[in-house]
């Protein structure tokens, strides 16, 4: 196909073909991905005969991307994995055995000095590293632009967003034709491993004497805060809270109405603390450790417990709200 003639520079092969179950795979992969040398690389995964569902492959992809690397292609012997990869737009390619023999890790290969030298060399050979990685992105999107059955007809709504990004978080059956896509949801809507948030089984945690209500949050006062919230700082306000800055992990925002963070939300956010179920939590990057709306509490999925969030200039604002008694997160793709 497209990559037939071109070479994947800056690539890594991770051989996981001996692993027989998914949880072990994720564990191994996450420990490998923490190695600094893997950052920014194009990962070629060798998966052997392990069967992976679409949702499982999706979380593996998300794991790799959370470490700033991306999947170049996968090599699998399982038909199911192959089908999942096709529907996610991941290239499938066989890693020829002589190639893997070449790369069999020898002690000498990993002497630090050699390691570094090699990395520097690579850079001088390819002064414009980015073009290489871009090539692969194109491959991804191209694969995706071939209409896939389930997304047919909805594509025009999402045309401006790269297909790759969509496949990252939105399984096709949950596409909503109203310009929103469900990013993640609580129990029942998405399998646990792909949900961004999981409802805590605390039940409804409204304090005694407080009842659910749906007062329009637009009628409430709004508190503007023009600073970054740090660990241990709490903002508690009866109306809406608007933060211009980040809310670091360990901070707490408690509002009677909506919470909007013009930055990365990493702490605990409790909107509608007086039982207002129409309250929403919005952020440029919604990464709260816990999301609480009225009496519903949801924790972040453990797979997203990374030490820190990489800052970029590209944010896709997200909004969390209650729908049918569940916390649902929408990714705002377009305003109209």
């Amino acid at each position: 196909m497209l990559m037939e003639k071109s070479a994947v520079e800056n690539g890594f092969i991770i051989d996981l073909s001996s692993i027989k179950n998914t949880s072990q795979l994720v564990f191994e992969l996450s420990s490998i991905m923490e190695h600094p040398d893997v950052k920014g690389k194009n990962i070629c995964l060798k998966l052997g005969s392990l069967d992976l569902k679409q949702s499982q492959l999706l979380s593996i992809k998300a794991l790799i991307e959370s470490m700033n690397a991306k999947i170049a292609f996968i090599d699998t012997k399982s038909e199911q994995t192959e089908a999942s990869a096709v529907s996610l737009g991941i290239m499938i390619k066989e890693i020829s055995s002589d190639l893997t023999a070449d790369i069999a890790p020898s002690e000498e290969d990993f002497k630090d000095s050699e390691y570094k030298e090699e990395a520097v060399e690579e850079r001088t050979e390819n002064p414009v590293q980015d073009t290489n990685s871009q090539e692969i992105v194109e491959v991804h999107t191209e694969v995706h632009n071939n209409p896939i059955e389930t997304t047919e007809g909805i594509e025009d709504i999402y045309d401006e967003v790269s297909a790759q990004e969509l496949s990252e978080v939105i399984p096709s059956e949950n596409y909503q034709p109203d310009g929103f896509g469900i990013l993640a949801a609580s129990e029942g809507l998405l399998p646990e491993e792909t949900s961004k948030y999981i409802l805590l089984d605390t039940g409804n945690v409204l304090p005694e004497g407080v009842e659910e209500n749906s007062v329009n949050t637009e009628s409430m006062q709004t508190l503007y805060i023009n600073q970054t919230l740090r660990s241990g700082q709490t903002i508690s306000y009866d109306g809406n809270v608007f933060i211009i800055g980040d809310a670091h992990p360990g901070s707490e925002i408690i509002a009677g109405g909506d919470i909007t963070v013009w930055g990365i939300l990493g702490g605990i956010a409790h909107a509608g603390c007086n039982g207002n179920i129409t309250s929403k939590v919005r952020a440029l990057k919604l990464n709260a450790i816990q999301l609480r709306i009225a009496g519903l509490y949801a924790r972040r999925n453990d797979t997203l417990n990374v030490p820190y969030v990489q800052k970029t200039n590209e944010f896709t604002p997200e909004e969390a709200l209650i729908e049918d008694g569940k916390i649902v997160i929408y990714k705002k793709l377009r305003r109209d």
Binding site: V8, I13, E34, H35, K93, L200, S231
Partner: protein, 270 residues
């Protein structure tokens, strides 16, 4: 059932109290004992991070004391081992939110239903320390082989001696680097024990894997291959009364070497 309440303390910060608490707690729970970890470092809590439980905390120890919830509600179960529970500290409050009697009461309640209650003490000798030791009957003093840490540990051992309830004080020597000891650049285990004069409960080697395990929220005792993990498992066995010889640290297994073996690096040419 009356469990044992053990406080893990050090005086100096950054010597590994929290890492030790998380690992000993996990190791004891893995052996089938019911364990509760209490984080008393109000305002600077970390124990939840090391266990990867930060996203599950709804109520904290301050909520229990101020009666906003029941003690049972505030206990967070570990992801893997239901025998292990965490009572988290409040991040938005400070040490004055709790006093020694309240903490003793919590420890007393918890030890009735658990085999072990491990109290992770904050650095320093002020209120936070006084709170943490209040309910304990045993103490583990963590130190590293550096003069400053040993000086602070000595001060702590002196303070613990004034507490009548504490019947046993043991030493855990952390971040030991055998290479440096060999080249006489670091104090040896015998030197430290000689200065502090309390029985040793464990020697933990310096291990780069600790950093990874902290970032991942996965105590290193769960890693069967890590040397530090093995050392912590041995500490747990010694706490249980078994006689386990101290690890021979002369052949440290490289953590990075293992990871590197798992990664094959190449330029793919198709």
């Amino acid at each position: 059932m009356t469990g044992r309440v053990i406080v893990i303390t050090s005086g100096k910060g950054g010597v590994g109290k929290t890492t030790t608490s998380a690992n000993i707690g996990t190791a004891l729970a893995k052996s089938g004992y019911k364990v509760v970890l209490i984080d008393t470092d109000l305002g600077l809590r970390n124990l939840d991070l090391l266990l990867g439980l930060e996203n599950r905390i709804v109520y904290t120890i301050v909520d229990v004391i101020e009666e906003r919830c029941k003690l049972r509600q505030a206990l967070v179960k570990d992801k893997k081992n239901p025998n292990l529970q965490l009572l988290a500290a409040a991040q938005t409050r400070d040490k004055t939110a709790v006093n020694a009697e309240q903490l003793k009461e919590i420890c007393d309640t918890l030890k009735e239903e658990n085999d072990f209650v491990l109290v992770d003490c904050p650095a320093g000798i002020e209120q936070g320390f006084q709170n943490a030791v209040a309910g304990a009957s045993e103490a583990i003093v963590v130190t590293t082989p550096e003069m400053s840490a040993i000086r602070d540990a000595d001060r702590i051992i002196g303070l613990l001696a004034t507490k009548e309830e504490i019947t046993s004080v043991k030493l855990l020597l952390n971040r030991v680097r055998p290479n440096l000891i060999k080249s006489n650049e670091m104090m040896s285990v015998d030197d430290v024990v000689g200065i502090l004069e309390i029985p040793l409960v464990g020697i933990i080697p310096e291990d780069a894997g600790i950093i990874t395990s902290t970032n991942k929220g996965e105590p290193i005792v769960n890693d069967e291959n890590a040397l530090a993990g093995k050392a912590y498992r041995n500490v747990a066995e010694r706490i249980l009364g078994e006689e386990v010889p101290f690890l021979d640290l002369d052949e440290p297994k490289g953590f990075m070497a293992k990871i590197k073996n798992a990664i094959a690096k190449l330029k793919v040419k198709v």
